[in-house]
Amino acid sequence: MIPAPFDYVRAGSVEEALAALRDHGDEAKLLAGGHSLLPLMKLRLAVPTHLIDVGHLRDLSYVRVEGDVIAIGATTRHHELETSTVAASDAPLLAHVAGRVGYPQVRHRGTIGGTLAHGDPASDPPTALLALDAVIVVQATTGRREIVATEFFLGFFETALAAEEMIVEVRVPRTGSVGWGYEKFTRRDNDWPIVAAAAVDGRVALANMGGTVLRASAVEEALAAGASAEEAAQQAAEGTAPSSDMHADGDYRRHLARLLTRRALESVAR
């Protein structure tokens, strides 16, 4: 219930954070909201020797329109995204999903950058960001690069983020008033999704249907070929590798993927 001992450094700037990351390599972890990392550390499933606190970098907390994208700073809390009028009007799927993360206390602390970096296949914001074709801007001491969401999630809690990189921004194409849908299936309202489906603009992303959040490409192809929501949704389980646990086995997850995709697409149409 208590983390193993570690050294703590509060970064005063992105540059300081990156320098510290470079110095400590694999043994260091960035700490933003801490609501993905600290629970793991308290169970001693993660034992970094150095924590670099970037949670105070308020310069990295913003939600603003930049041309045809919304730029969201990495330390923007879910709560800020949930209540942002910019997000509500220009990326309503994302604003909605930010409000589906757990419960108020976690939304007051958790950040978009932290949630992305965590790489949990059963997480709401990454699902939405994948459906929105977001771009993740990462930075190292050596410079910046951009990674599209479809190339960001590599495996189970594994992302394209290198050990010395940190996420600084997420850029989300503005979808405005285009229809969207989000169907999250849980036992209790505030749980991680057993399966979730996000749909917007002909794209569908699924949570917890494999080692990463993933796009339901077969569904997207069917939609592009003119299939109805119901027909296209039948393809939702194609290419997925859902795990079995006490809540759902593979068969049931596949069923849920189809059901939730259909319902999410029906919301899009409404």
């Binding site: 570690f6 050294d7 700490l31 600290l38 105070h56 419960y103 206390q105 505030n190």
Partner: protein, 167 residues
Amino acid sequence: MQVSITVNGQSRTDDVEPRLLLAHYLREVCQLRATNIGCDTTSCGACTVMVDGLTVKSCTVLACQAEGFRVTTMEGLSSEDGELHPVPAAFRAEHGLQCGFCTPGMVMAAIGMLADNPDPTDREVREGLEGNLCRCTGYHNIVRAVRTAAAAGPAASSVPSDAQVTA
């Protein structure tokens, strides 16, 4: 390392180890033991406190992350004359507590919820308190207590020690 935190309106500076949880800092360093710890997976919410006007689970915040924060616990709601803040007053009136263990966190969560949504429906109250578990009450009277407190208006979501802090 040193941390400076304002707790219930009082500024203090303490020497803590980096891994000291804010919950333990409040209980053992500040000797404020109303805030309870009911789990180790950020699930139960008994440790909920207010930080700069927002509710957080103090078991999932390090004391050193709280540097410069204004933290309010249930003890910080009490006034000198012993009159209860509208939310705990409503909890009493509606019998929204039995064993009392979840209560300090539940009260703070309710205050935070009312700050966001001053006139919630029953459903909204339940959703706002999703992160707070109770075994004794079945939540029925907790919902009643929050609705009753909401009727008290803005006072229900006010946090006294926040008002005392300068800059």
